[in-house]
Symmetry: D4
Subunit: 226 residues, 8 copies
């Protein structure tokens, strides 16, 4: 196994962009240092940019020692190397959260969507227990091509938003909560059982997945072909 | 066991009213015919009225054959014998439902509260996926001393109501739904995890329990001592 | 409760179409006869068409006795009254199933999408245990604006499709299976945990929800504003 | 996200007191230092007092460095700044625990109720496995307007109390226990299934929620309008 | 498989009595008619008595048509053929239930213990929500060598009894309840987590198992060697 | 709360020995230092001996600093102070384990039983996957008045022993295992579902509880009255 | 959907035999009459024999009305049409059950293996609670190339067999049991957690799957190439 | 307990090799230092080689200090002492993984099989979300006598492989994933519910078990008798 870190075993999916319209992304959490670095190097060679999620501060420092231009956001855990140019952002995705504790997941979603070329509007801390906060932002939300609704605890936000908009709502349960929240399972069940229409659900804390799907929809709505 | 139906084994709790302020009530579901009849007879002798929940049409016919004044509501399943007099109702309890399928449980709650002497306002079919329906009824809900919020599927109604009122909200999950609603478990988890304050939860479909607690609170708020 | 069936309690959401772009739909399962009929009448008056899901043969006969033009599909359980005119269908939605037992749910999805104006391509019985069946249909699937992937048992179909297309995949777990399939829970978990991107999930057997979301996306992709 | 800590994203709910009768409270656990400090500052400016739950010793020292009058109870984890005046406490809430390990949650409940103006009687370590301990305190418990019953492991305390009193019992399952207690889930299920009347349940370890609801009821019983 | 019913496949464990001190017993539920009859015949030949549990009325009539002396108790579902002689009962087992709905399981336990030669005292309907009912019977319970405590719903009875006696308590959860009782799972968890000492638990509704163990203990306490 | 550690809140159950035949025992895990010390002091004053379970090395050193005669077994975590005299042990309890990893729980059971005056035979590492190991020890096991069977992973040991002996088997599931052992839940379910007779179950890792019950039975079998 | 039954949607996998070495098999349960008949016809045309599992008596009569040579075993639910010739059976598979109630699943396994050409030895009713029954058959079991171990309730049989043989054991949990057996889930968990080596597990009641895998192994052991 | 580490309690199963064809193996995780060393010493004396799984770096250093020839692979956690000679490897086992994060479990399987004398082909990172990666390796996989398929998250790999090969597939769920993967439970359920034939499942992360079974099958296929 001495070559483990040299990508012998990892089959970087370099044709992925052609097949799916999106380049390969790195899930940093739990990756060994040398292996992580190798992946960043190989992807950088290929695309001149790399996008990683769930990175730790230590992983940031590791990658930065090799790529000075690496950029890290401690809130979302996104560790990326981007080209030195302004990306033109298209369309409109609304990213909403129920509380402030849901923001890390929301930022993973929002920054993923932005990296993939979508314009994002953030509408944070509009949970249903203070429904006026949400209602005061409805106009902003209604401008979007697709809404990402991020919530932990009882996870009721997507249901209320789903009844207010014409576009799909991607629901993201978070592991925020305690006791019978069971690390996000309760929020996941709430969202899967939503009586509102137009709601589909991704894994607990899967901000990346939500940002990806929202971008797919946003591209379709914007007439972009990848 | 030949005397099984004659109440040898069942210890009717005739001092319960003194101890708890409420007479004994009959959970009809699953009770053998002869046993059910015996309980109605014994309680009627004691109180001149009997209140039963979860009764079937057949049980109604059985009891009616013995007590012509027996009254049955097929929606809630309540089978009762009441004194021929107008009960003075006190205070104000709001009973809300998310959908129409939740009404049987809500009626069990409402009619329980009415039997125990509470005034009830019904606010049905105001689920969060069409939030304007709820908002248009907020003033009515705010007049109550206590709110009962009944919901199945994702069970988000109590969270929204909890953020709008100053009084306790008794949340009742219902077994309404399919798939991952798991017969009401999902709604129960939603309600237990509510990020709104003032919400406590009873068992799935337990309309009776909610009506009982709401009456306790309504009595306290009305200065009634039992 | 004597007015229960007359819609006093049910608040038909007649402004829903304006708000969400879709008219109200009837979930027939479990509804009392008189209540069901009232809803069909009221919605027919409003829209001159009614779309109901999860209807039984008996409910079909009930509705047909009042609306001779009522149409019922026993496979999907859809009971609808439609205007006597050809609907122009737009865009392209692919509806795929893993097995033949998943077809009822798939048809609920497909016919929902068609009722809402979407063109649908059916790609049935292409489960991953015979991967060549799916691969031989990839070109058809890739033409869609959005894919609905319906599967029970281990529910692996969406993961494979997700890796082959550029557009969103709506995953629908079904209750098909036995033993540790736990009525669809296993398939639901598989889909929520998919390692493929672009996959979001709806409730077990929720073909209607998938057809609704797919139509939202298909409309966005087709430049249709509702 | 560099302004994350400056409350740009957190929408402090300053009208909450008017709407619900209670000021906003801080859930300290997991909050970043700078963000926590900002919230304490903003709420202090508004109300001249702040009440926080689930605070660590380190968070106490942080807040104390800014507000010398900050007060911390390591048992309950409550970190508060209060006005230098005697609060008049009204009514009567009984807070009971099954064991000594449940006291931290009970104190969260009791001190919450006291902060919100309720008089509290503590009746600790009266679990049902030594029923005489509870029976010897029944008179004290019966004087309350509402009872909070806190228990882990099998969580049977609320059922026994519920049969002894006329007022509502707020049941709080705790994560005390091991093995099949599943971090409080078993106690939660016990309480939700109670055969006693008058019992409603809050989340595992949610002493704050119980103190809040008990205060709502205690206010109603005391004729206090907020 | 045409010989399926002739005991070719079933290996009647005729040495069981010598090995364990108890003869083989028949679990009737679900057994095919011919197969059931064969087992009764073979065991009758061997022991001149047969004891069966979970029998239906129809199975009783089947067995009675062959053995006129067969005896059936519809409450417990016990279907037995006994020798025409008075059995000397030894020791003392207390069988307690929380409610009347738990009596079928309790009778399975009590009659099993009696068949195996134990004297039984029944103490029924003494659930913890009316604790005075239990306390008034404590002296009777304390006379036993072992206590069987049968309860559904929240299942708290064994915990209270465990704190009152010096002898082992066999806890039997029942499937009595609804909603979050999950067919007895909640009661099972309650009993497994009991904070009282001396409590061990058998399967949901397993009255037979409890009667068996109680007899083992009662025999030991009575100095009986089998 | 400044008096928390001084036993104001903990109601030491000093009459427990009279009521149940066993003195109070200390569950050390998680107890604050000062509080633990106070309990040891008070119980020592009362009984001149103290028995504690689930103690850490640090707690041992704490108690030893106050009671030089304190004795600690790191395998079982038992921390006790005993009278300087030889205890006469009665009867016979067999304590069996499936593997070596189950020994800590088995020792908690064995040493508990010994402290309470029972003679114990240890039969360790006789799991069913090497059935000859168990069979070679059957004679020893059959001499006992009661058997404690300790097992993790699939927890099958009690079923096999139950079929070989005439006396009760107390089954103790352990949290030994990984993956789908779910911290002992799988072993617990195995034991609760045992097809062997005479098996009752205690909580996961609850060696103390098993030792307590076994002692109750052993006393009954030995004719000891407490 | 009018062509639903004509196999338009079902893609019979006629190349399966070449690809996997086994012809397609019919899972009869839940299939519509006309659809079932069509599949039997098409497969018969192709292979001159058809093998179906989980068939009802009614389905048997349906198929028999078309194929007089259809053969049905009510114990296993296997409904097959076979060529009128003696099949040469190879190798040796031992099929064991814990109890008699497990025989239907065992027969599904055994007859599947026989249909696919394997010689089968049945060793039924050798559950671990009477371990001597199993030990007396060990020599027979040891002659097999692979063992199928079928058990419900606590499912311990595979663990004991696994420790006695040199060949793979295919464990089949059954839904036999009640209460906490959770329809076979407990047996499944037991088998997955087995401390014996050489055990792998299939779905609850999946006799067919076990017979299939056992045949694969038996063929490999017999040097048969398909 | 002072002799705990000296193997008094652990009954090393030295006849295991004769009985099962495999020597005893050490599960290192959680074993005390002295105890681990004793086992390695005793097994080394017996067999002149020792194979341990789930070892930590610290355990490696411990064993190395006693056996300089000890060899450790940090990826799989295997810590072994082998004879200084080339082992002749027989047959062909394919070990496949879905992702790179599954490699540690796959290596545990592969190296176990190699230690037991099997030839292994590694086919890593061929998950179903990029199905072409798997298809390009099908020829290699088809050469094997048995396939081990290792996958976390949704665990769909075995289903696809099962449909492509003629030989048994041992499915190994891994705890790779987050959120609703529930530490491997979701992958386990997926695999148990596979609609492909020929798939049986071992415990989560149980690479050793898979390597063991695969070797059993590989030996049978290679005509090796142990």
């Amino acid at each position: 196994m001495e070559n483990f870190a040299d990508l012998d075993f990892a089959k970087l999916d370099l044709s992925r962009e052609e097949r799916t319209g999106f380049p390969e992304v790195v899930f940093c959490s739990g990756k060994e240092d040398q292996f992580l670095l190798s992946i960043y190097e190989r992807l950088y060679m290929e695309h001149q940019e790399v996008f990683g999620t769930r990175a730790s501060q230590a992983q940031y420092e590791l990658v930065k020692s090799r790529f000075a231009e690496a950029n890290y956001d401690p809130v979302s855990g996104i560790l990326k190397i981007t080209k030195n140019e302004d990306k033109k952002l298209i369309g409109n995705i609304a990213v909403c959260t129920a509380g402030t504790a849901d923001i890390p997941v929301a930022e993973e979603a929002a920054q993923t969507a932005e990296f993939f070329g979508s314009k994002v509007n953030r509408v944070y801390d509009v949970g249903v227990a203070g429904i006026h906060r949400l209602l005061s932002r409805v106009d902003t939300i209604r401008e979007a091509n697709v809404v990402i609704a991020v919530a932990g605890m009882e996870g009721a936000l997507p249901s209320v938003i789903g009844g207010l908009v014409k576009v799909p709502v991607i629901a993201v349960p978070t592991s925020v909560g305690y006791g019978a929240s069971f690390e996000g399972l309760s929020a996941l069940l709430t969202m899967i059982n939503s009586c509102a229409n137009g709601i589909s659900v991704v894994n607990i804390d899967n901000g990346y997945g939500a940002g990806y799907i929202a971008t797919q929809i946003n591209r379709l709505a914007s007439g972009v072909v990848c």
